[in-house]
Amino acid sequence: MAPPLSPPALRRLLLLVLSLLITSVAAENVEEFTEELLLRPLPDRKALAHFHFRSSAPPSAAPSRHHHHFPKAIAQLVHQFHIKELELSFTQGRWNYEQWGGYDPMSTNYAKPPGVELWATFDLPLGEIDATWKNLTHTLSGLFCASINFLESSTAFSSPRWGFKLNEGNLRYGALPREAVCTENLTPWLKLLPCRDKAGIASLLYRPSVYKGYYHSQKLKLASSKSFGIILDQTLTVVLQPDSVRGKQLHSADGQLQPSWSMKDLFNRKLSGKCLVSKSSRVFFEIEKNIVDKVDKSGTEASWTNEIFVLSSAPDRVLKEINNMDGHSSSICEYDVSNYNEDAPLDVGVTWKLPLIWSCTPAPYHANRFLMGSGNERGSISLSFISTNMHKQLFDVSNDCSIKAVVFQVVPWYVKGFLHIDEYPPDANQGFDIPSALVTFPEFNSSRSYPETDSLFVSPLLRTFKEDGVVKSYTEVLLVPLTTPDFSMPYNVITFTCTVLALYFGSLLNALRRRTGEEERELKKAGNPTMLICLPVYDAHISCVI
């Protein structure tokens, strides 16, 4: 028989077991928050900045759970409306597919149509989804200070089965092309972050810079399930023109240099530390594969400092894309913000030494949409596809010219009919907006994988790059001048009708009641030959004396 454990040893063992149990339980039930920023120079002298914030809440049985930094408003939204997936984007500007690329994860996931776009899938029986959608649009309108409630009417949303995403009928999609996006939409979006815009990467958001850009899009993406809980991704994608003096230099021999810029030039401030509740906080600087290609051709290896450009400081890590069929791969320089603070802020930037011209990989076809003809009867909407020959380069298939493309567009019914007079917006003569069409190329995949160097932690941003994303393009929004009625006509009609009626009844009554010959007839009847003398009297009335 083994000797029994002594009481202190037993106690210690018990404590050890208990602590292991607690940490394992705690590890599963912990809310996490990460923040990341990706910077990339664009070929047409602009700069792309992409902010990515991910907040995750573990699954819980009861909706009334205490939250630490996951926003309670979102958790309540998910539980109340039984949302499985939701994506809401506010965009101003058009993503320039010709210059900024159409074949990378950024343009596939974060290039959104102008205005507001909302789609959601629900975990409810199909009959209840429309009513839930209506309540959801109202709630989101109150939450984000936008007129999303206009998507409640059945003329504004649609339920595509396969055009947008494959689903079983529980998806609803709506877009408002003319919705303005301004600071009031960003304010509540920032309030969902644990550190708001006071600390961490979100403190870079200088509003005048953000709204002066060529394209800005803020997106909220929710995914919820019983197994992984709720994951909330908030992203803000901005394309800015760096304003620096250094950007206007001319190189002696080869033409104009690309503008050299840094975070201070883009946002008017530097990054002085991370959000303290974030699990990780990183800044990435992406060097695209076409740049890497050209730098390699010039002889040097494309690391953070080479003959053509140099980054402002040494990155903590450089990650090279893996599994690229093309041979050349993009690379990402990673900076960990926790190494920086107020005294030594982080200011990532690039200085160009030699001029370089490169282009971003486009989608297989450039899709454009425009109006032709005029008027309701002879007008039409045209969609044009211009091949970029990119697919031939990638797949080397010279004979096969056919590509599968899925086009999804929503055209309001009243383009071909008439609205009731009070359904017209106040400035109806401007025209009506038709939301962007979405063109998907299912055979092409834009994912990119990067090595995961840290086994305990994977960057959410790089994880989204790795996800299977089919190449998508949005076309332009159309402004259709429809025939509008003359809104002053009701007033005109009422005025004319009343005038005519007044004249008619007035003259009728006058004719019936007039007694012009009456007095003379009365007098004749009385038979008096004497004259009628009518004299004015002092108080100015005529009295007739017989």
Binding site: Q92, G142, C145, T183, E184, P208, V210, Y211, K212
Partner: protein, 311 residues
């Protein structure tokens, strides 16, 4: 009342009571007569015993298009002032009929100024607009005031006031004799407004209501009000126009109206702890600077004019 004919204070009648009681009765009569509001004896004074415990503000700009930038700047100036003096965003309903800050014509994106020196960015970093663009309609405005919304409307878009609330209602835009124009396509008439305020009073949605209107012929808009506890200020009288203050040649349009400019000049001197009174606000309006007569209607208001507007 001792006359034995019911509680209505009528004109003095020849009474059979001994003269001894008259001096005692007279002050009682006088007291009772003054305690009834001029409108009706039955409606009586503001809800007895309701203490002032919260403040709300409803700020409405009814004009769209770029050349009406000054109306947006007026409303945003009041918004900023009201926030600075202590009312939180949850208690402010801001209705802006168009987007000026991120308008493509705005040279200064995300910034709205009310002065050509551009010192103060009214839009700031934390603005929250509740009703935007096409949502600013007469129907939505009246729904906000009366509280009769559809069930799906979220709380941030409702005026959740109660009988202890002091509410500031500020409207600006283009107006005329007994109307205010919304979005260039419909009108709010003065009797609609009076009716909405009457509903609010009956539902105990406010203790005191201050209406400020900055439009042409503003005073006519509240000529039909008859609910007690309402104080109304208009920027001009019937037949007078309200003018803009100055033109900003950089932005290209006028940036603020005179009435609001002087109102702001008064408020900028205050902070949350000041004890200024409405009386001093009224006295600060100089008709020659305003180029119109600021008119205020006090007959429905019971307290003398020495209270702080936002406290």
């Amino acid at each position: 009342m001792a006359s034995g004919r019911g509680g209505i204070p009528g004109p003095s009648r020849p009474c059979r009571l001994p003269l001894l009681f008259l001096p005692a009765l007279l002050p009682l009569l006088v007291l009772l007569a003054f305690s009834f509001s001029p409108s009706s004896a039955v409606a009586a004074a503001a809800s007895p015993g309701a203490m002032h415990n919260n403040n709300w503000a409803v700020l409405v700009c009814t004009s769209r298009f770029w050349f009406n930038y000054r109306h947006m700047a007026n409303t945003l100036s009041l918004y900023r002032t009201v926030k600075r003096l202590g009312i939180p965003d949850e208690r402010i309903i801001l209705m802006l009929a168009d987007d000026m800050a991120c308008n493509p014509r705005n040279n200064y994106p995300a910034q709205v100024f009310n002065n050509e020196n551009h010192q103060l960015n009214l839009y700031g970093d934390n603005v929250e607009v509740d009703y935007r663009g096409y949502e600013v309609t007469v129907e939505n405005f009246l729904r906000v005031l009366t509280g009769r919304h559809e069930s799906a409307v979220p709380r941030s878009k409702r005026l959740l006031s109660d009988e202890g609330s002091h509410i500031l209602l500020y409207m600006t835009g283009h107006g005329g004799d007994e109307f205010l124009k919304f979005q260039d396509n419909e009108e709010l008439q003065s009797h609609d407004l009076a009716d909405a305020v009457k509903q609010m009073k009956e539902k105990h949605r406010f203790k005191e209501l201050l209406i400020m209107v900055d439009t042409c012929q503003a005073a006519t808009l509240f000529s039909q009000l008859h609910s007690p506890g309402v104080l109304a200020i208009g920027s001009s009288m019937k037949g007078e126009n309200s003018y803009s203050h100055h033109l900003d040649s950089d932005i290209g349009v006028s940036v603020v109206d005179r009435f609001t400019f002087y109102t702001l000049a008064f408020f900028e001197k205050l902070n949350m702890y000041s004890n200024a009174s409405l009386n001093s606000l009224f006295n600060s309006y100089n008709p020659s600077m305003l180029l119109s007569t600021a008119y205020y209607r006090m007959d429905l208001y019971e307290r003398p004019l020495n209270e702080v507007i936002v406290r």
